[in-house]
Structure formats: structure tokens, C-alpha cells
């Protein structure tokens, strides 16, 4: 089966018929990815035990693991990807989605506790990004990219300890990891996050609503204007909602969104993606330098 949305994990995805049922087999043959895939499965199993409004998590039936391989067998969901969904969604379906996202993240917040995240978590991660960028042959001769990393390091040095909810998050809550089935939204591809905070899920969803990241990986023609209008609507609703409710969101969303894009940049090798990332990071640094425009 040809998938319209291409991911970056490198896992093999197969749709398997067993009797009259369909299942997804997601597997890796990369020994370095085995534990990561197994952890994803554990996170997804835990999430599937919780009841959410409109949000569903596909059931995982089996996890097979060896030193070199891992395969997870999960429920197949009849669904559309986000672009197909948005192309046909009436205004009320967009309203439902906004409500579901707010509800899901509020539930994560309620299942987390306020904790102090030491400043070194961010500065260590920034040092790691700087190291990886300097070893990325597509970036290490790019003066603009190196300058952006340098300026970003200065920003991260100034953030300090962060007090925020920690305990529950999807870890990669982009639109490409949501399957759309009517007004039910199935979350897939859970990931460990460097801070297990609901704020990181807001960062990831706004990676798409504010910056249209997942559209970069969509190969078919689509109505870009309509998608931009919808994304802006969702983004404004999410931003206004959490800005109005939480000081930690107001304080740390922007530096963590900057870190999010730096972590994508460190592995980037496609010219189009690198140009996009430099544009986004540059605009974020401008915003952080002038917070009133955030």
C-alpha cells in the first residue's frame, strides 16, 4: 500500500489481513531503533486505556522484540489524513477538532503535576543540537544556519529553570500523527519526549497549525489557501485558549517551539526543508527578541 504521508522514523508499515480483519504491522530492523519503537508501543498502550472525548488511540495487540528487530501489531483504522479531512471539512468539523485538541491537552495537564524543569535540560539539549548541526554536512558550511544555532544557544541560556506540568504527553502530536475518521481523531506514533510535558504537545500541534510543517511532506495537489485558513483558525483558537489559562504557556511556548525546530534542523538534509527551517527559526528568534509580537 502506498501511503500519502511519508514519515521519518524509517519503520516499515504493512497492512495485514487476518481472516476478515485488518491490522497494521509497524516494524523496525534497526537495532538502534528497537527500544524506541517498543517504548512508543508502551506509551500507546497506556494512552489507549484512557477515555477521551472524540480522541481515540488504536489498540495494540502484540509487541514482538528481539535484539535486532521489533514489530507492533495494532488496530487498523479506516481514516483520512489531515489534508483529505480539511479539504472536505465544514466549519463545524473544524470546531469539533479545536474542542477535541483543547480537551485532550487539558486532560494531559490534569494528569500531570507542576514540576521544575532544570535549565540544564534545555541547555544540554541545545549543546547536543549544536554538536549534531556541526556534524551535518548539509549544514556545517551554511553560515546562516550556524549563526541561527549560535543565536538560539544564547536564547536557551537565558531561559532558566522552567515550572510547567510534567507527566503526560503524546510526544509527537503533529497532524500527520492523527488519523481522521468523521469527528473521531485517532492518535498514532506516540514518542518519548525530552520533557514529558503537555506543553510539548502544544508545541507539536502548533508546529503544524502555525508553521504548516506536515504539508511539506504531502505529495498530492491540495488547496493550500484553504488549508492555511483552517490552520490559522485552529492555531489562533489554541493559542488564545492556553495564553488565557496558563502562565507557563505564556513563558515557555516560544523557546520550546524554537527548540522543536532546531531538533528538526539537526537532522535535515533536504534543501527545501533546510530553507524552510531557517526561515522559521529566524522568525522565531525575531519574535523572541521582540516578545510583544509573539
Amino acid at each position: 500500500m502506498k501511503l500519502d504521508i511519508q514519515g521519518h522514523s524509517g519503520c516499515d508499515i504493512a497492512i495485514v489481513h487476518e481472516d476478515s480483519d485488518l491490522f497494521i504491522h509497524k516494524s523496525t530492523h534497526d537495532p538502534g531503533y528497537v527500544s524506541r519503537l517498543v517504548n512508543q508501543a508502551k506509551k500507546q498502550i497506556a494512552a489507549s486505556r484512557i477515555e477521551y472525548q472524540n480522541i481515540r488511540v488504536p489498540k495494540i495487540f502484540e509487541v514482538e522484540q528481539s535484539d535486532t528487530d521489533a514489530t507492533i501489531k495494532m488496530e487498523y483504522i479506516y481514516s483520512r489524513n489531515f489534508i483529505e479531512h480539511f479539504e472536505q471539512a465544514g466549519f463545524e468539523q473544524i470546531k469539533y477538532l479545536i474542542g477535541a485538541i483543547k480537551y485532550f491537552i487539558d486532560l494531559e495537564i490534569n494528569n500531570s503535576s507542576m514540576q521544575t524543569v532544570p535549565s540544564r535540560i534545555l541547555t544540554d539539549k541545545m549543546a547536543d543540537v549544536a554538536r549534531k548541526v556541526s556534524h551535518n554536512d548539509h549544514l556545517n558550511h551554511d553560515e546562516e544556519a550556524m549563526e541561527l544555532v549560535k543565536r538560539s544557544s544564547e536564547v536557551m541560556d537565558g531561559v532558566g529553570d522552567m515550572v510547567m506540568p510534567v507527566g503526560m504527553c503524546h510526544g509527537d502530536l503533529t497532524f500527520s500523527n492523527i488519523l481522521f475518521n468523521g469527528n473521531n481523531y485517532y492518535l498514532i506514533d506516540f514518542l518519548d519526549s525530552f520533557i514529558e510535558s503537555p506543553l510539548l504537545d502544544i508545541v507539536k500541534i502548533r508546529q503544524d497549525t502555525a508553521y504548516l510543517w506536515s504539508t511539506l511532506m504531502y505529495n498530492k495537489p491540495f488547496d493550500k489557501v484553504r488549508l492555511s485558513i483552517i490552520s490559522e483558525k485552529i492555531d489562533t483558537a489554541i493559542d488564545e485558549y492556553f495564553t488565557g489559562k496558563y502562565q507557563w504557556y505564556r513563558d515557555y511556548y516560544m523557546p520550546l517551539q524554537l527548540m522543536n525546530f532546531l531538533r528538526i534542523l539537526q537532522y535535515a538534509h533536504d534543501d527545501k526543508v533546510i530553507a524552510y527551517l531557517k526561515r522559521v527559526i529566524s522568525s522565531q528568534l525575531a519574535t523572541l527578541g521582540n516578545p510583544k509580537t509573539a
Binding site: E87, Q88, A89, G90, F91, E92, I94, D223, K224, V225, R226, S228, I229, I230, K233
Partner: protein
């Protein structure tokens, strides 16, 4: 009462040497763009503006020709608005016409490449719709489609995707010209920008649109350019 705007200010390579299709005459000697409005309840219109390009006007004497058409068909409240430069979208043409003529209140926008009849235009946001099954031959690619709920409220409008048995028939009503311009200003950087995008953006902001039921639909479009 309301203002009727007929935007015909797009440029097209075909028009370098040819008279744009909406300015051609039908068998009765009526310009198609004038014919396009004759099925509307014109007694509801305070003013009617045909918005054309200066380049087209200079090459084809459109102002004089349209004035003759207005006299012949007793359109005493019809005017020609001439834009110096081509616009990037139908929405821009309308916004420019609103600005240049100081139009306020309700506006009805009518495509110049089609005809329909409507008994009454209610004072509310609306989209003229027509059912696909009423057409003997359909070219679904060049239409936008309008979804309505059971109570006849518009819930969706989209270009070139068949989400409904109703397509947009080329008539759009906005109850406030200033509000239309606000949405245009918000979206004007997007391209290609269609009126359906403006309407969808308004729907997302909980603006209410009702379908306008029409009859006798005729599609004269020979290109997919909106004027």
C-alpha cells in the same frame, strides 16, 4: 436595498487580441455580462457596477459600449468602474470596486460568465446554489461546491471538490461591504484566492450564510478564469 457588483477585471493571455467573452453580444445584441444580471431582481439594487480593466476599455471601447447597453435596457442605475491594473482575484476586484465607489451595506456579486433567475435576494449573507442533477452536462472540475444542512444553512464551500449535490452558481451576497473588505484584507496575501475562501473563512468565524435558490442556470464560461 443593495449594490450589485459584476467583476470582469481579470486578465488572460487569450484577451491580448480577443474581446473577452463577457463583452461579446448574444443573439439579441445584449452583452453577455449584461445578460448575466437580467435574471436578478434588479428592483432591489440601488446601484450596479460593472468593473472592467482600463486596458480592455481602451482596446475595446467598453465604457461606451456598456453605456449603450445600459440605455438600451433601461439600467438607469448602472455604472462602469475602470481599474488601471488587472487584479489577482475576483475578491480583489470586488474590494477595489467597493473602495473606489464608497459602497456600504449589502453587496451582491454576480459572475459575468453565467445566468440564473432569482425571485428575491434576502438581506443576509448567501450563496446562489444549483443542484448538479439539474444540468444535462456537467464539468465538475471548474465549479465550487456548497454543503448545506437540513435547515438550509451553508456549512461548507470548497473549490473543485464535490462535497455536495449543490454547486455555487456564481452569485454571492454579503450583508456588509466593510466586513467583506476586512476578510479580503486578512486573506489577500494568499493565492489563488477565491470568493469561496472568503466565505469559508467567514463560516469558520461563525458568520451565517444561507443558500440562495435559483432557477434557469446557464453556464457560458469558456475558460476557468474568474473575471
Amino acid at each position: 436595498m443593495m449594490t450589485l457588483i459584476v467583476p470582469i477585471a481579470a486578465n488572460n493571455d487569450d484577451y491580448a487580441h480577443k474581446l473577452p467573452q463577457p463583452f461579446r453580444l448574444d443573439d439579441e445584441g445584449m452583452m453577455y455580462c449584461v445578460r448575466a444580471i437580467t435574471g436578478l431582481p434588479l428592483d432591489q439594487m440601488d446601484n450596479i457596477y460593472f468593473v472592467v480593466l482600463r486596458d480592455h476599455d481602451e482596446r475595446f471601447m467598453l465604457n461606451e459600449q456598456l453605456m449603450m447597453q445600459f440605455r438600451r435596457h433601461h439600467l438607469t442605475n448602472a455604472h462602469v468602474t475602470i481599474l488601471d491594473e488587472p487584479t489577482g482575484s475576483q475578491a480583489e476586484t470586488v474590494a477595489r470596486a467597493i473602495e473606489l465607489n464608497g459602497i456600504t451595506g449589502m453587496v451582491f456579486i454576480k459572475d459575468a460568465d453565467c445566468y440564473f433567475t432569482a425571485d428575491e435576494i434576502l438581506p443576509q449573507n448567501g450563496v446562489a446554489i444549483y443542484a448538479l442533477e439539474n444540468l444535462p452536462i456537467v464539468d465538475p472540475q471548474h465549479k465550487s461546491y456548497v454543503a448545506v444542512d437540513d435547515m438550509f444553512y451553508v456549512t461548507n464551500i470548497i473549490e473543485k471538490r464535490v462535497v455536495s449535490r449543490f454547486f455555487s452558481a456564481g452569485g454571492y451576497c454579503f450583508e456588509d461591504a466593510a466586513e467583506f473588505c476586512r476578510y479580503y484584507e486578512r486573506l489577500k496575501e494568499y493565492s489563488p484566492l477565491y470568493l469561496s475562501h472568503i466565505i469559508y473563512s467567514m463560516l469558520l468565524d461563525k458568520k451565517i450564510f444561507r443558500p440562495i435558490e435559483i432557477d434557469d442556470y446557464q453556464d457560458w464560461s469558456v475558460t476557468n478564469v474568474k473575471y
